[in-house]
Subunit: 302 residues, 2 copies
Amino acid sequence: MTPRLALLACTLALALPVLAADPPPYRSAQQILDASPAGDWRTPDSASTLYLELDAGRVVIELAPGFAPAHVDNIRTLAREGFWDGTSIYRSQDNFVVQFGDADADDPARAKPLGSAKTKLPAEFERASAGLRFDALPDTDGWAPQVGFADGFAAGRDPKTGKAWLAHCYGALGAGRNNDADSSIGAELYVVTGQSPRQLDRNITLVGRVVKGMELLSTIPRGPDPMGFYADPAQRTPIKAIRLASEVPEAERTALQLLRTDTQTFRDVVEARRNRRDDFYKRPAGHIDLCNVPLPVRAADK
Amino acid sequence: MTPRLALLACTLALALPVLAADPPPYRSAQQILDASPAGDWRTPDSASTLYLELDAGRVVIELAPGFAPAHVDNIRTLAREGFWDGTSIYRSQDNFVVQFGDADADDPARAKPLGSAKTKLPAEFERASAGLRFDALPDTDGWAPQVGFADGFAAGRDPKTGKAWLAHCYGALGAGRNNDADSSIGAELYVVTGQSPRQLDRNITLVGRVVKGMELLSTIPRGPDPMGFYADPAQRTPIKAIRLASEVPEAERTALQLLRTDTQTFRDVVEARRNRRDDFYKRPAGHIDLCNVPLPVRAADK
């Protein structure tokens, strides 16, 4: 018996340290989400939710009043007054953006009246990071000293200047402007449909992001004219309406929940994507880029 | 006069150091390209150029035999024997990839014969960096120790392992595989149409990149089934043919030139994009991401 017991003891001695160092079984992002507590999800504020209505369906946008309060306020006014109804998506540039609003905005003779919306706003390229919950990624970033998530948005932060700003990731919604920094008013908008153009960070006021329906924008045929514009109005994609969710009857709203980015569930999802340990991946990346992080959305009735 | 001269001298003394430090006048990427010498451009090898023919037009692909010689060799065989003629783009996943080839490849009863193509290849995730001209970017990257350009392709490099590999940027062409690293043969292919999924670097064999016609792939309606597949064959995008340019009559070829990435012109283009100093940009980024670098292409008759 003695040799047999000795062998067993030896096996245990070898096995225990390995067991202690074993990572927990890998769970995919979806498995983590499926097991998430209900409290990890939030319902977006209907007064900060826009519905962009196209013939192909509805694009749902979450606005970011915490970053661009003056622009969001103006966008609410424009939506309430039906400014965008009957306008169009008049630009689609491959691997960059779609842009929409009044295609004649630059022509004083044909521009659509702005109603009671303001015609001058301050640039809102960044805000004070004080008072902002910011869940930083440990991952390096070439564009910003720190990157992470604030109020569910991908963002950058600079501890030296004490500023934070939204990042131009896929789906980001920005306020088009002319050369002057303060020339945007939120009437002409764009959505990022390509590789994240982070060089625009802190150069344009970002006002929100698409949370549902990106594929309706990303598949729009690219415009044949320079920078993806359509000189021919017939080629533009009509906008039936842009409405605040709060102005739409409850029964017609799209009920969504967004994963809170200040939760362990979100951190676990990020790690599951940073280091994939399923059967397919042979080499976990050990890194994730801010704009590769998924921001999970689900139907609210789930 | 004395006070006036003194003031002038003072002004000069203040102004001269500023003048000395002034950068040369900013030229946009397009202005740099317009002034480039003819020798900075190369004509892609017709034996390494694929034409993917769709009803909507032609997608031009440059293969990378320097990185994936076995796969490229097999792809040449498949193209010569017309393997892809009558197949389809059977997957389009938003912000990720389109995938194409034989939709029935996994069904032995219905799979299309592979002709004289090989049915087993080594994984070609990386290659020795020795002997490879590699023009490194100075910019930091979270996915790889070094990034830059080799033979006109965006690539990563690790001085410690002495390896280099192609990067999953927008437009990259990869060989789909199952869970085994060496399960790809180049018959099922994908093209990146979203935010660069660099976590796939060194996990899949990349075989080339799209140099013209990306908008024909990026706008394909997203598949309704999981991961963007179309269960309904009627929704797939038919592939008329995939041919090597060298097998197509000269008059039917698309004559292109690609900017060499080992030139001062290319370095100047990168810097013009890294630090934009035109009237629009208020803050040059001081950084560029590997996958944000444009790889200029022009008609050869230019």
